[in-house]
């Protein structure tokens, strides 16, 4: 085990090259619906229990199933209404279990990125070869069912190894060249994209995805009241919008169709979407679009700036 993974360098927020998003936007805004499949009777992993009770854990399984049976369509209707294309964090087995949902997202030109095979299969304990196999399976499955070269990764149930980012970048390169495996959602260290070093040297970045705005963290972990979530989202946006005048920021709302789409919560979510998209200088985008734009326009300047900050500190020290 390492004290730190060391895949990104220190880089002070207020001393960076200015980012300007397309159309002069201050905030690049994206919504990442997690569309997940949790198994009723998954195999056990010695490091993490998939369910808190003996299987079948009907309460946990059935509310997640609610998301796919009922919630997805509600959320999709809202995103349609506010002109937002989702960037789907996908348990790729959903392509086999519920292809009807995949089809609806495809028709809307949504992005699909990998969130593993199932959200009940963890990375913990996988060998490097096994993890590579799992990641390759996930990217190939997305390509087979959607035709998309998977650009992003959020490890299944946020379970990682020390090699996860390296492997994702490598498999993406093998399958799709510089179109695949270009961003990770697994790091929460910044409100702007940042370069992440992977062992292959591929141009690879971290995309702000925000655990703090993630509905499952908000509702199920932090036990926040639905209308307070709307307030949090609006405050989060307000500050990133204001700061975006100095240098473009990224705001993501990571959602789950079994959380935001519940009847007692969807109104609060809509309120936030309406508020955010009502602002003039918002670039409503997908994860890939933001990543592509950043890599093309700011990635090299970012590396230079990081190096310059480190050198300056060295001189002063």
């Amino acid at each position: 085990m390492k004290e730190s993974l060391g895949v990104y360098d220190y880089w002070a927020y207020d001393q960076r090259p200015k980012i300007e998003w397309p159309g002069g936007a201050k905030v690049a805004f994206w919504v990442a619906p997690n569309i997940e499949y949790y198994e009723l009777d998954p195999p056990l992993n010695p490091q993490r229990n998939p369910w808190p009770h003996p299987h079948p854990s009907v309460p946990g399984y059935s509310i997640r199933d609610y998301g796919n049976r009922v919630g997805h369509q509600r959320q999709m209707a809202l995103l349609d209404k506010y002109g937002i294309r989702g960037s789907v964090s996908l348990s790729v087995a959903l392509c086999e279990h519920h292809p009807e949902i995949i089809q609806m997202c495809k028709e809307r030109d949504w992005e699909f990125f990998s969130h593993g095979i199932y959200n009940t299969r963890y990375t913990y304990g996988l060998s490097e070869a096994q993890e590579r196999t799992m990641i390759r399976d996930s990217m190939e499955t997305i390509h087979r069912h959607t035709g998309q070269a998977c650009a992003g990764y959020l490890a299944p149930a946020l379970s990682h190894s020390e090699r996860t980012l390296d492997l994702f970048a490598e498999v993406g390169e093998e399958l799709f060249g510089d179109k695949g495996g270009i961003y990770t959602c697994d790091l929460f260290h910044d409100d702007q994209p940042t370069p992440v070093s992977v062992r292959s040297g591929k141009r690879f970045i971290s995309m702000p995805y925000s655990l703090e705005m993630n509905d499952t963290i908000v509702y199920a972990v932090n036990k926040v009241e639905p209308r307070q979530y709307a307030t949090m989202l609006k405050r989060h946006f307000d500050r990133l919008y204001a700061e975006g005048a100095e240098s473009g920021t990224v705001m993501c709302i990571p959602t789950h169709n079994y959380q935001v789409s519940c009847p007692h919560r969807i109104k609060a979510f809509e309120e936030a979407l309406e508020y955010i998209t009502d602002h003039p200088d918002v670039w409503v985008a997908t994860g890939r679009e933001i990543a592509d734009y950043y890599l093309a326009n700011y990635y090299d300047a970012a590396l230079d700036s990081i190096a310059a900050q480190a050198a300056t500190a060295g001189k002063q020290g």
Partner: protein, 315 residues
């Protein structure tokens, strides 16, 4: 330590579900259902009446809202018992004021031990549904099948005997099941089960053994997310927030039912919680909010089940 390669085997990775209990179906893709008298939103209010034993075994886990302190945990025992002595009578009064006919999901042991309570519930009017034996007799994976079969039969038989009602519905303690529970329910003539909270409408369930006259077991989802105990006791939200959440849920489902077809609004209540003096007015506010709409049909779950079968068999 590396996992075996079979950790990456996915034998149930195919269309539909990784089980055979019910069919994959998105709510918005189904034929719209209209409730009796052309209503669009069915409202089901369930009152859970529970006995939490003082000598809790906690097998295979401690039931939520059960004993937490070293034996004898008199504070939680008596606080839960409060619901059956005091809280329920406040709740009944509130229900009567809004002409609501509920279901009473009652632990069979409680029904057997408190005949006066059962009599009062019958006088009020409503449908009794089985709620297991008590809150410390959970149904769970790995439970010996003979043990669970006896538990289901004893619970259903006892409740039928002491209430004189057919007892068509079932709500598991803590909504927890084994892989066999739906089969055992069907074996005992149970027609609907409220445990699976994966829909805003009833839907058919497949069982291996029993086939009741109405067909296979039907799932009647009794929403957890807006339950009084879930919002106020698990999430620790305020009473006012609970009222807002229930109203928002109701308003949304009412609107969706107008646009897309029949929906089920199911509200589960616990007299030990919502029957407290400082909370009962919140329940009254909720009941007032969900009453009196021209599109709403309020009925106990068995009647909603019958209407669902009638509507979907005609379709």
């Amino acid at each position: 330590m590396t996992l075996n390669d079979d950790y990456l085997d996915y034998p149930r990775r195919h269309h539909g579900y990784d089980h055979k209990r019910y069919e994959w179906s998105m709510l918005s893709e189904r034929a719209p259902v209209t409730w009796p008298e052309g209503k669009s939103l069915a409202v089901w209010v369930n009152i859970s009446l529970q006995f939490y034993p003082l000598n809790q075994r906690g097998k295979p886990f401690k039931v939520p809202n059960g004993m937490t302190m070293p034996y004898p945990d008199l504070r939680h025992f008596s606080l839960r018992d409060y619901g059956n002595r005091v809280g329920i009578y406040r709740v009944l009064k509130a229900l009567a004021a809004h002409n609501i006919t509920p279901t009473f999901a009652i632990n069979a042991q409680l029904a057997e031990q408190t005949p006066y309570l059962v009599q009062r519930l019958k006088e009020h009017g409503g449908e009794f549904i089985a709620h297991g034996w008590n809150m410390d007799h959970l149904h769970y994976g790995g439970q010996p099948i003979e043990e669970e079969a006896e538990l289901v039969k004893r619970s259903v038989d006892t409740l039928r005997r002491v209430t004189g009602q057919p007892v068509r519905g079932w709500l598991s303690p803590a909504k927890h099941q084994s892989f066999k529970t739906p089969d055992l329910l069907a074996d005992n003539g149970i027609e609907y089960c409220a445990d699976w909270v994966n829909d805003d409408m009833p839907y058919r369930c497949f069982t291996q053994t029993g086939h009741t006259q109405a067909g296979n077991l039907t799932m009647m989802p009794l929403a957890t997310e807006i339950e009084d105990q879930f919002v106020m006791s698990q999430n620790l939200h305020s009473e006012d927030s609970w009222v807002t959440q229930v109203k928002d849920a109701f308003d949304f489902l009412l609107e969706e039912s107008r646009e897309q077809g029949g929906r089920l609004f199911a509200l589960n209540l616990h007299p030990w919680l919502v029957g407290q003096p400082h909370r009962i007015a919140c329940l009254e506010e909720v009941l007032a909010h969900i009453s009196g709409h021209p599109e709403v049909w309020q009925a106990p779950a068995g009647e909603i089940l019958d209407a669902f079968h009638h509507a979907t068999e005609q379709a």
